[in-house]
């Protein structure tokens, strides 16, 4: 360690400050979930679990949860199939433009979501496609593919090729080798990539607003509408509390299963 003592102490204090900044809003909102008052005023007036029951019985919220689960499953399925195929092609074959593929898949997350949203909406409208869950899934899949791709390709880079060669030497054809050797070796990468893609889809609002029809609401769309209705505030607080707790799942997965394979953040 080459840093002098005062630098180390200063950095520790600054890091602590940043962590407080990151967590304070989440903690404050989590406390509101137990606030008996209908008004969002600080400090809370007491403690209650009443709003949890109210949230569980909210029909609009239930419908939104179902929609979000379907959209997440659909987008994750598309992303896993296409992302895995692309990762296998890039990792196992050489071809013209191979370097460009990674850049191509990063583009939907590098360009602002509002661009993806308006582009898809314009296209659906021009082609007279009915807006609904299917259009939401298409929108989510465009940026979920990159997560599946990144997770699978990181795993493929570390996999030794010898088991596959041995399998081929023993007479297995391409499909058998893939099914018996490559696929099991990719298993956890597919699991973590799939769950991270699902989590991303579950949280998406910027693109979803453009690709959802008037009758279809996902969880984020429900929250956005409910925030602006004072009567729904206590139920939103409960939903927010649950979502904050749920964010531990992708973090756990990213740490344990992927072993930090996805280097920078979410993608």
């Amino acid at each position: 360690m080459t840093e002098p003592r005062w630098v180390r102490i200063g950095l520790a204090v600054a890091s602590g400050g940043v962590l407080v900044f990151l967590y304070l809003p989440l903690v404050i909102l989590a406390i509101y979930a137990f606030n008996p008052s209908r008004l969002q005023a600080w400090p809370p007036t007491g403690l209650t679990l009443h709003w949890f029951a109210e949230a569980a019985a909210n029909p609009g919220l239930r419908a939104a949860i179902v929609n979000s689960l379907i959209a997440g499953a659909g987008a994750t399925g598309v992303a896993l199939v296409l992302g895995t195929a692309a990762a296998l092609a890039v990792q196992r074959f050489t071809f013209f433009g191979r370097e460009t593929i990674s850049f191509l898949f990063v583009l939907p997350i590098a360009l602002p979501g509002v661009v993806t949203g308006i582009a898809l909406r314009t296209t659906f409208q021009t082609l007279d496609v009915d807006f609904g869950l299917a259009t939401i899934i298409v929108g989510h899949a465009t940026f979920c593919i990159v997560i599946a791709y990144n997770n699978v390709i990181a795993r493929l880079r570390r996999l030794p090729r010898t088991p596959e060669e041995a399998s081929a030497d023993l007479g297995a054809d391409t499909w058998t080798t893939f099914r018996r050797i490559t696929l099991p070796a990719m298993g956890t990468a597919l699991l973590s990539g799939g769950l991270l893609a699902f989590a991303l889809s579950f949280d998406e609002i910027i693109v979803t607003n453009f690709t959802a029809g008037p009758g279809t609401q996902t969880i984020p769309m429900w929250i956005l509408a409910a925030i602006q209705r004072p009567a729904e505030v206590p139920v939103v607080n409960v939903v927010a509390f649950v979502l904050i707790l749920l964010s531990a799942i992708p973090v756990y997965l990213a740490q344990r299963i992927a072993g930090g394979a996805t280097g920078g953040g979410r993608y």
């Binding site: 950095l11 404050i28 600080w42 692309a86 949203g117 593919i145 992708p250 930090g260």
Partner: protein, 305 residues
């Protein structure tokens, strides 16, 4: 793979190979076909769903609208959308506001991220480092709207900020301040900046720091002359996210600052049926981001993505 996956193959080799098996054996010898089957699906998806949509968006910017009903007339060409964008100064104001806030958010996040990333990469023990990575990842994965909503409750009247500032006799500014957008967007995208910088700092071998110290450089000089140039590409990689995510956000500005960003104009006009204007204005973030990405690539950011 995509074509074969729908049919299940028998477990053991059979004396009379079925059609699928023969196809698989043939595939084994034809690597190019294998590759094309693998690439076909994802490339078709990207080209049709994504680039196809972007192309239609580009066309949509030049579509005409019925002068009486306002109905969009696809494939009837006009420059009306661009004319209104240029003649009405509000669109320039909004563009300048959005890009200024995006730049401010990026600089703010860089300033906040470097110390904590440095602490994580070089000073914390492995155990503390692991805990801090988790501590930075948690808020990143917490739902976007939950975070915006949390700030809304903090900033609004009778909220946490008013309560905290009250004893000092300072009035909370309340919602509807453009500075709120700067604070909240900096908050939202901060983890996207911390993680790449942390990864970049971790890649710098410790021997370089020691060499610099041995040659007589003090901590400040080592940081400026050795660490910062080496971690700069990672910082630019993080800035792609902070800049792009701010540039395209239309929910946070509306909820915490009551301000219009480029995204709000795009969203509002597309909802109101003025698609050509929305499409034409969306060319602005596309052009800005492509320029940003080209500069970022020159600075070596893509190796740190």
């Amino acid at each position: 793979m995509t074509t074969a996956s729908s049919v299940s193959a028998p477990e053991t080799p059979t004396p009379q190979p079925g059609r699928l098996r023969r196809f698989a054996a043939w595939l084994h010898l034809h690597k190019r076909v294998q590759r094309n089957l693998l690439l076909g699906g994802p490339l078709t998806w990207m080209v049709v769903a994504y680039f196809g949509s972007l192309f239609i968006l580009l066309l949509g910017a030049f579509w005409d609208r019925d002068p009486f009903t306002g109905q969009v007339q696809p494939f009837a060409w006009s420059l009306d959308a661009f004319e209104s964008l240029i003649t009405n100064p509000v669109y320039l104001t909004i563009a300048v506001r959005t890009i200024t806030i995006a730049a401010a958010v990026t600089v703010t996040d860089a300033i906040l991220a470097v110390p904590i990333a440095y602490y994580m990469a070089r000073i914390a023990t492995p155990r503390v480092r692991q805990l801090m990575v988790v501590a930075v990842l948690m808020p990143l994965w917490a739902a976007y709207l939950v975070k915006v909503y949390a700030w809304r409750t903090i900033l609004q009247g009778n909220g946490f900020l008013e309560w905290a500032l009250g004893p000092f006799g300072v009035d909370a500014p309340g919602l509807g301040q453009i500075l709120n957008a700067w604070v909240v967007l900096s908050y939202l995208w901060l983890p996207y900046m911390i993680l790449p910088i942390f990864a970049g700092l971790e890649r710098i071998p410790n021997s370089l720091h020691e060499a610099s110290a041995d040659l007589g450089a003090r901590a400040g000089i080592t940081f400026r002359r050795v660490t910062l140039p080496l971690v700069f590409p990672a910082l630019v990689a993080g800035s792609i996210f902070t800049f792009s995510l701010t540039l395209g956000d239309y929910i946070t500005p509306d909820l915490v600052a009551d301000a219009k960003f480029v995204g709000n104009v795009i969203y509002d006009n597309s909802s109101l049926g003025n698609l050509p204007l929305a499409a034409a204005y969306s060319l602005l973030p596309i052009v800005v981001m492509i320029g940003y990405l080209l500069v970022a690539r020159r600075l070596g950011a893509f190796d740190s993505l």
